[in-house]
Every structure is written in structure tokens, then in C-alpha cells.
């Protein structure tokens, strides 16, 4: 199972699939790794499978648009390695493991298209069984046709409303939506509205969704300023505060969501340069206009480069693959520039709506950097906000020191569920900017592997490679 490719792609979402199709058009040999069982990524998850095929009216046309992409990807001649995790990358080398095997694959150029995850939403009780993300509910709906009745949705942003609407369409009306997006966001958002009108379909779709929820009679409580999930071994109730007033409801099923953040572990572990994007409130890799990172052999496409949605992800996959083809001498510079021009203008139009959405759904400070000391920030090592505050008062300068003091970010998720929160909390505690506070120093392996898998990969290196 060891071979050498012109280009290796990490992630078979819209960005990775589009990049593979484009790379194949230029005659490049191509391998695509994905730890998921089937191609599609987050938005098009399992779109070519049967349960999804029966769900068109619930999941909607945006989801089904992915079917044609998945089919084109399956025909394009790229090698797809499903259920295969990439755990270490270096120049020219991809280390991976699947259920049966582990190994090393060589590739001249690498495109990372690892996508996004939902932004951590640390509130009291968010670790209790029964509390999931809205995206998790959507994954269960798409790939397993599962729905929960009597759900309480908490947070804000397009994905939260989309999943709530999909629930309504499947006949499982959510009990309640608790909106945590600050009302004052509207004013700064309006400044971006004229530009957003260049991509009116997003606005029309968004308004349609809100209308749908209203028509279904889902109660929405706006301006929620504090949230608390009660329970000891599982979720039992939700308490929330609007202004001075606290309310409570019994609840065993709660979905949280307030936006997405890029999956930064791989690029951070590769020491790619990153910057803090204050509009998207997340770390992003610094890229040139083609998606090339500060490591000259690594390109980054799709939501891993910054949150911009599925169509942008697809377009940016095409753009990076065109540049890789140029870099490998398959096309000249003029040809590259000419081919990419229509892709660039489509991208600009797609992204026109982002500043508006980012301003409108910017999460409140108190939810990205909680102020109560007993809230767990690092789920793996159960490190609380109070412990971080204590470490800061004892002089911890940045995330790496609190990692050393408290093990936070060192559990199996490797900081994915606390990294952004630690940056935000340390920034709010110290008054320094997020950029200045920095992020955990990531290392390979980016996900746990067994000693045997590491040994298996190195055996293959010795036996076959080079």
C-alpha cells in the first residue's frame, strides 16, 4: 500500500474533492485521504447513500448539489482512501492509519482541506451526555436518519437555524430556540449589507429559513445572556438569563452552536504561519493568493483556510489545484492565470456575504470567554476557567505554559475543543490581544495513534520507500 503521487489531498469535502478533480484534469496522479467512511465532508456527508437519498425534502437542494460533485470525484481517477486518518505530515510525506493498516505515502505536493469544526461553546454543563452540537444532530440526520424529539437549540448562526428548520421539516419541531447572539450586532452588520446584496441568494435563503421556523411555531427567546445546563450524570434542565430574569425548563436534549472555526491542528503542527482573524474570531493560516501556505510544498483550501462555506470551499480547491499544476510544470504562468480568472471572480461573489454574516452572528464575549470559574474549558482534562485564571495570576504567559501547568490541551482531542477558548480567555484575563496571546504549540501526531501503528508506518518506510 505504499506509493508515490504527484499530489496528496487531506480531506474529501467539497474543497478536497474539487481539488482532486482539477488535479486529475492536469494529468497529476492524486490520492485523497479522509477519516470519514464516505466522501462528502461535513456538508455533503453521505449524500450518495440511501438514507440521504430518501431525505431530499428535509435536507434541501444545497445538500443534494453535492451528489454531482461526489460522483465526479469518484470518476476522476484519484485514489480515495476512506476511514484513513492522516496523523503526521512533513515535506513529501504523509503518515496515515486505517483500521487494518498504517503506512507512509509519498507525494510531491500536499493540499490540506481538513475543513472546519464548530466553535467551542463552553457553558456550565456543556460536557453532560445529552448535550451535542447542532452539527452533530445534522450528521445523525444525514447519515443515520436519526432525529431527537423535544430538542432545545441554543446559540446562533446560519447552521443552528438550518438544523432547526430541517428538524421541523422532518416533523420533529424543536421545543425552543435560545438565541445568544447579541442584539447590538445588527448595527455593525448593516454596514456590510450593501455588499452582501451581491450574493442575494444567501439572504433570501436565510430569511426563508427564519420564516419556516416561525410558521412551524418554534418559540425563539432572543437576547439570552447566560446559559447553564443542569444535571449530574446527564442533562436534566436548562437555565437561561435575559436581562435580570432567569428562566428554567426541564431538558434532556440540548444542541449548542455559535459558528465554525477552521480545523487548525495540522497546519499549526507544521509550523505554518497563522494570524488571528478578529472578524471570524479564529486562527487562520497565512496564505498567498493561491492558497499556498508558509510551507512552500503545502497548500490549504476550503474552510481550513477560513470559514467561507461550501461553494467557496469548492472554488478554492480548484484554485489551489491549478496552482499546484503550475508548480509541477504542467501549465505555464499565463495559462494558470487565465484558467483561474473565472474561479477568482466567482469566489469574490460568493464571499461577498461573509462580512455581513460574520458581523451579524458574532458570538458574545461571555460565551467565547466565560467568566464563571467553575466552567470546564478543556473537556478532555477537565480544566476549568478558574484554574486557567489562577495560572495566569501566577504568571503563565501563554497557552503553552497553562498546558504545562494544567495539562489542558493535552488530552486525546489535542486542544481542538479548548484551543480557541484558551486564547480568548487568556486574552480577556490579561488584556492582551488574541494574536499576542497565541495558540497551543501543536505537535504530531495530530490524533492519537498506537505505538504499533507508528512502528507499522516506519516498517513500510524501511521496506518500500525511496
Amino acid at each position: 500500500m505504499n506509493a508515490s503521487f504527484d499530489v496528496a489531498i487531506i480531506g474529501a469535502g467539497p474543497a478536497g474533492m474539487a481539488a482532486a478533480i482539477e488535479a486529475r484534469k492536469h494529468g497529476l496522479s492524486c490520492v485523497v485521504f479522509d477519516e470519514a467512511a464516505r466522501p462528502g465532508g461535513q456538508i455533503y456527508r453521505d449524500v450518495a447513500q440511501r438514507p440521504a437519498q430518501d431525505r431530499l425534502s428535509i435536507l434541501g437542494p444545497d445538500y443534494y448539489a453535492g451528489l454531482e460533485l461526489v460522483e465526479a470525484f469518484q470518476r476522476c481517477g484519484a485514489e480515495h482512501r476512506p476511514q484513513t486518518l492522516v496523523w503526521c505530515v512533513s515535506e513529501g510525506e504523509i503518515y496515515w492509519r486505517s483500521r487494518e493498516q498504517s503506512g507512509l505515502t509519498l507525494a510531491r505536493r500536499i493540499i490540506a482541506a481538513a475543513g472546519a469544526m464548530e466553535r467551542p461553546f463552553p457553558v456550565r454543563g456543556w460536557t453532560l451526555p445529552g448535550v451535542m452540537t447542532a452539527g452533530a444532530l445534522q450528521i445523525l440526520l444525514k447519515s443515520a436518519s436519526l432525529v431527537e424529539d423535544d430538542m432545545i437549540f441554543i446559540g446562533g448562526g446560519p447552521l443552528l437555524y438550518l438544523v432547526a428548520a430541517q428538524y421541523c421539516r422532518s416533523g420533529f419541531r424543536p421545543r425552543l430556540i435560545l438565541e445568544t447572539t447579541p442584539r447590538r450586532n445588527l448595527i455593525p452588520a448593516l454596514a456590510h449589507l450593501p455588499r452582501a446584496l451581491l450574493a442575494p441568494h444567501y439572504l433570501i435563503k436565510g430569511l426563508g429559513m427564519l420564516r419556516e421556523l416561525r410558521a412551524a411555531g418554534v418559540p425563539v427567546v432572543r437576547g439570552v445572556e447566560e446559559i447553564e445546563i443542569e444535571g449530574d450524570d446527564a442533562a436534566r434542565g436548562v437555565r437561561w438569563r435575559v436581562g435580570e430574569r432567569w428562566r428554567r425548563e426541564d431538558a434532556e436534549r440540548v444542541a449548542l452552536h455559535h459558528g465554525l472555526a477552521p480545523n487548525v491542528n495540522l497546519a499549526m503542527a507544521l509550523r505554518c504561519e497563522h494570524f488571528w482573524d478578529n472578524r471570524q474570531r479564529c486562527w487562520r493560516p497565512r496564505l498567498d493568493g493561491w492558497g499556498r501556505s508558509s510551507q512552500s510544498w503545502l497548500w490549504i483550501a476550503g474552510d481550513e483556510a477560513g470559514i467561507a462555506g461550501a461553494i467557496s470551499a469548492r472554488l478554492s480547491g480548484v484554485l489551489t489545484a491549478i496552482d499546484v499544476a503550475h508548480d509541477l510544470g504542467m501549465i505555464g504562468e499565463d495559462e494558470r492565470n487565465a484558467m483561474s480568472a473565472p474561479v477568482r471572480s466567482a469566489l469574490a461573489q460568493e464571499r461577498a456575504v461573509r462580512p455581513f454574516l460574520e458581523a451579524l452572528y458574532r458570538p458574545a464575549e461571555c460565551f467565547v470567554a466565560p467568566e464563571a470559574d467553575d466552567i470546564i474549558l478543556c473537556r478532555c482534562e477537565e480544566v476549568t476557567r478558574g484554574e486557567i485564571a489562577q495560572a495566569v495570576s501566577e504568571g503563565a504567559m501563554g497557552p503553552n505554559q497553562v498546558k504545562g501547568f494544567l495539562r489542558c490541551g493535552m488530552g486525546p482531542c489535542q486542544g481542538r475543543l479548548c484551543g480557541h477558548t484558551i486564547t480568548e480567555v487568556m486574552s480577556s484575563l490579561s488584556g492582551r490581544s488574541q494574536e499576542d496571546v497565541g495558540y497551543f504549540r501543536q505537535r504530531m501526531p495530530i490524533k492519537p495513534v498506537t505505538v504499533g501503528q507508528i512502528a507499522g508506518a516506519s516498517v513500510l518506510v524501511g521496506a518500500n520507500a525511496r
Binding site: M117, P129, G130, M132, G135, A136, I139, V147, A234, C413
Partner: protein
């Protein structure tokens, strides 16, 4: 409870903590467990608190189980094979080869 939108004929079964769970061959393991009413998939190493799936996409590691003796498997990335033995994971896993 999670409910199946269109009840089909289960064609597989696996063992979870001594209990037989009906499922579909090749379906998502975390989904099959949630449907069977399992809420806690593991207990944390530090306090022993109960945890269940949070993200369903491989990033949170709250769904860790032991599959056929192999610990630290993310149930949300695992597929059901008839006859597999699944156990909740208590605390941290032993270091294995």
C-alpha cells in the same frame, strides 16, 4: 430518545456492555448506540464523569469506546460490523501495541 425516520429491517447485531444491540451493517456506530438509548459512552480519566458524543465528526473524543478489545476508538468514525464487541471506556486506555 433518538428515533429513526423510516424504520427498516435491522440486518446486524453487536454487543455493548453485555447487551445485544440491533443495527444495520455498515452504519455509524455512535448512531446505533444513541438510537439504542445509550447516553454515556465513557467516563473521564480525571473525575470519572460520564460523557457521550458531542461533535459526531471526530474532533471531541467524547465517544471513545473499546471495539473488539481495542481501546480509544471514536464511535462516531466507526462502522457497525455484525458480532463486534463494544465496551464503554472507563478512564484512560492502557498503552497498547
Amino acid at each position: 430518545m433518538f428515533q429513526l425516520l423510516d424504520p427498516g429491517e435491522f440486518d446486524a447485531a453487536f454487543d455493548f456492555e453485555g447487551r445485544t444491540i440491533s443495527a444495520f451493517e455498515g452504519e455509524n456506530l455512535a448512531a446505533a448506540l444513541l438510537r439504542a438509548g445509550v447516553r454515556a459512552f465513557r467516563q473521564t480519566p480525571r473525575s470519572g464523569a460520564a460523557r457521550g458524543p458531542y461533535c459526531m465528526m471526530g474532533v471531541c473524543f467524547e465517544c471513545l469506546v473499546t471495539v473488539d478489545g481495542e481501546p480509544n476508538r471514536q464511535a462516531c468514525l466507526e462502522t457497525v460490523r455484525s458480532g463486534m464487541i463494544v465496551e464503554a471506556q472507563a478512564g484512560s486506555a492502557e498503552i497498547i501495541q
